[in-house]
């Protein structure tokens, strides 16, 4: 079991969460929270259950770090990171997560997930043509940087190496930018926005149904099955739609036919038809529906988190499972003063 010292906001918090979920001992130094996409109570319950949470002044950081195997430090810029004096800490593995990394001309640029998503190529391709691009809500940026940080720290523990690791949120996005840059380099095409339509594979879009929305993603091999799913078998021999290039040419006509075919079906009916036809279709689930999802329940996906007021909350556990081990419940701990703790 490793001892982890966690300093920072939602990215460091997510790294710490991964360590806790995998049985390590995490001490989190509490600090001011930047704005979030959920309430402070929800962010805390999701990220910090199972951690020791302390208040400590900067003068204590080096001593706390020296007792840890791994320090995760999330900073708002390279200079902010340096202000902690982490280069003097004796911890074997130090991971610094920052918006742009510790070097480079923009190392001290101000950033939020929203501005990083724009620079990382995500915002340009989300939303509708002719309208403002859409920024991705949530904490994808911080959590993805955290997954890289966790991987890097564990890789160094695995090889028994002492390292300073620099993880840039911006570069995390660039590394995960699908085929955006190679499409430009190789085909000379700049990606743009097509709403929910995955433009190059038709039909792949979000369609309204009787009680919500459904996404269909039809790679060419699924086309015949999709016509059965839609209960429009005649489309399989319609010359307008006989291959993907033609379906791209006649996209609007095809979308109208699909909209008409699905508008009176419920999400449940659509799921049943998709399962029978073996085509990729997913319905838009509300958070209430996700929490009540029979599949996730049967797979024992959820984890119970006990909040400070003893309220039991249902939280996602890990995104993976090793040897089908059960997910253990966790409890949120009260924040304690480090000095008080030390005196005890």
């Amino acid at each position: 079991m490793d001892k982890i010292l966690e300093i920072g906001a939602y990215s460091a918090g997510f790294v710490g969460r991964l360590f806790v979920q995998n049985g390590h001992e995490v001490t989190r130094i509490e600090s001011a929270r930047p704005p979030a996409w959920a309430s402070a109570e929800a962010m805390t319950a999701f990220l910090h259950a199972g951690k020791e949470r302390i208040q400590a002044g900067p003068k204590n950081f080096a001593a706390l770090a020296s007792a840890a195997d791994i320090v995760i430090l999330e900073a708002s810029s390279a200079d902010h990171a340096a202000s902690f004096g982490f280069d003097q800490w004796t911890t074997p593995i130090k991971v610094v997560i920052s918006p742009f990394g510790l070097t480079g001309p923009k190392r001290n640029w101000r950033a939020t997930p929203h501005t990083l998503l724009a620079m990382g190529g995500y915002t340009q391709i989300m939303g509708d043509a002719g309208r403002a691009p859409l920024s991705l809500p949530g904490h994808y940026v911080e959590f993805q940087a955290a997954q890289f940080a966790f991987t890097a720290a564990n890789a160094c523990r695995f090889s028994n190496e002492s390292k300073l690791i620099d993880v840039s949120m911006y570069e995390s996005l660039l590394a995960l930018s699908q085929f955006t840059t190679v499409m430009w380099s190789c085909a000379g095409r700049v990606r743009s926005r097509h709403g929910s339509d995955f433009y190059w594979v038709v039909p792949s879009n979000l369609f309204r149904c009787a009680d919500g929305w459904v996404y269909i993603n039809t790679v060419p091999t699924f086309w015949d099955a999709v016509t059965l799913f839609l209960e429009l078998p005649e489309l399989a021999i319609d010359p307008r739609f006989s291959d993907n290039d033609l379906r791209m040419q006649h996209r609007d006509a095809l979308h109208q036919l699909i909209s008409k075919a699905l508008i009176s079906a419920t999400k449940r009916e659509i799921r049943e038809r998709a399962t029978a036809a073996r085509i990729p279709a997913g319905v838009v689930q509300t958070f209430g529906e996700v929490l009540a999802d029979e599949h996730l329940a049967q797979r024992n996906y959820w984890q119970e988190v006990t909040a400070l007021d003893e309220k039991n909350l249902t939280s996602p556990s890990l995104g993976f499972q090793i040897n089908n081990r059960a997910r253990k419940p966790l409890a949120l701990q009260h924040v304690v003063s480090h000095e008080h703790n030390s005196n005890e």
């Binding site: 996409w37 990394g101 929203h114 190529g121 403002a132 997954q147 430009w184 085909a187 993603n217 090793i322």
Partner: protein, 418 residues
């Protein structure tokens, strides 16, 4: 035959048999290989396409043309396969399956992202493999996992995404939800797989035993909705905010002066995290707003504020607008296209894009920067089956004559069939 030099990294010495395809799985194995693991792509002879080029691949061809070996020229594939070696092995032939299981006995990891039924139907599931190697870590990444009511659902990233709850938050408003249309669950699953493998490898150090690691796109993606799922239970207000933010204002994407390009990318993203940012923003705007406005006031006046910001941003192109905003300390960034991303000074200075593939095609690097590791020892994507014979010789001790025999009988391949 071609050989691949070892990569210096903390996973040096770890052997991975990689049966993954499309995005999530290959992304994970690319990260492993960047960290020094020896990644062997176990491919079908037709896995990269036919010998004769058909339709242009989604991201085009390396060099812009299919070339003499179009199957080796698919840009989207190449981007995810650096540092790997390739064996084209027919797992449907009994001898091909035997060879694969011999490789399994020498490997540390097998990773695949087929449907839940695919590997067991070939008698190559975890139960079969662990008999050949009790220290093996087997990672399976089906869309909805290997059990439960949805286990046989056909899954791609874009269809899993709405099942995670994200679509309740992503959209212009409540009546206009949107899908990212970029298969967002795939990069989440890819990085989640790397966290899973490192966890399993470290556990093996303690137990000496291999492990069955299951990772569904659905569950990996739902983790990222975690804060909202808890907020829902606490009575939080959860809805699409467009480009606004529940705890920041102003927060949006604003039109800029045209650069004369037809890319619909003349936009800048701006976010004010707090009152200090708001006051700094006011230094640029020609508007008479109250610097003491708190978050509620700024959200209440968002329409007037956004109009004033747009009046200012339209005077500058997106790069200059972002520079000016940063100059007064306001978080901002231009909405980047691919050419912008490749030319971005920060990426250039840190050599993020690596031009190691043919035609000096730049591909994204790895965001994990650590002392002693760099992209200098990386190698380009291998040709299909480039190491088919070499791997059987070096891992399993077959002779050149024997591997030539496997090649002649179609058990292994170095190109797609005619």
């Amino acid at each position: 035959m071609s050989s691949v030099a070892a990569i210096n990294g903390p996973l040096s010495g770890i052997r991975i048999l990689d049966l993954t395809h499309v995005w999530a799985g290959p992304l994970a194995t690319r990260i492993f290989s960047d960290l020094g693991a020896e990644v062997i792509k176990v491919e079908r002879a037709l896995g990269r396409g036919t010998k004769v080029a058909s339709a242009e691949p989604i991201a085009g061809w390396l060099g812009g043309e299919p070339g003499e070996e179009p199957w080796n020229n698919n840009a989207a594939f190449v981007k995810l396969a650096r540092n790997a070696q390739s064996i084209a092995l027919d797992l449907k032939l009994p001898r091909g399956k035997e060879l694969f299981l011999e490789l399994v006995a020498k490997a540390d990891v097998v990773i695949e992202n087929f449907s839940a039924r695919a590997m067991p139907s070939m008698q190559l599931g975890w139960e079969a493999m662990k008999k050949h190697n009790p220290r093996l870590i087997y990672i399976t990444m089906p869309g909805y996992g290997t059990n439960g009511p949805y286990k046989d659902w056909v899954a791609f990233g874009p269809t899993v995404e709405p099942m995670t709850g994200l679509s309740q938050m992503l959209g212009y408003n409540e009546s206009e939800p949107r899908n990212t249309a970029m298969a967002l669950m795939d990069p989440i699953a890819g990085t989640t797989a790397t966290t899973a493998l490192l966890t399993a490898l470290r556990e093996r150090e303690e137990t000496g035993l291999g492990a069955f690691v299951e990772m569904s796109l659905h569950e990996a993606g739902t983790v990222f909705s975690g804060p909202w799922l808890i907020d829902y239970q606490l009575g939080g207000e959860l809805k699409p905010y467009g480009n606004a933010h529940p705890q920041m204002a102003p927060h949006g994407v604003y039109q800029c002066q045209s650069r004369g390009l037809e890319d619909d990318a003349d936009w800048v993203a701006i976010a004010c995290e707090n009152k200090a940012d708001w006051c700094n923003l006011l230094r640029l705007l020609d508007a008479d707003f109250d610097p003491d406005w708190g978050l509620d006031d700024r959200q209440h006046h968002s329409i007037e504020i956004d109009l004033a910001i747009t009046a200012w941003t339209l005077q500058f192109d997106k790069h200059e607008a972002a520079e000016r905003l940063q100059g007064v300390g306001v978080p901002a960034g231009p909405v980047a296209t691919a050419p912008d991303m490749l030319a971005e000074a920060q990426a250039v200075e840190r050599d993020f894009f690596v031009p190691l593939e043919r035609f000096a095609t730049p591909v994204p690097g790895n965001p994990i920067r650590m002392q002693g590791s760099s992209s200098k020892d990386w190698s380009p994507c291998p040709s299909l089956g480039a190491q088919s014979q070499q791997i059987l010789q070096t891992w399993l001790g077959y002779t050149a004559s024997e591997t030539m025999g496997f090649l002649a009988s179609g058990i292994i391949a170095e190109a797609p069939p005619d």
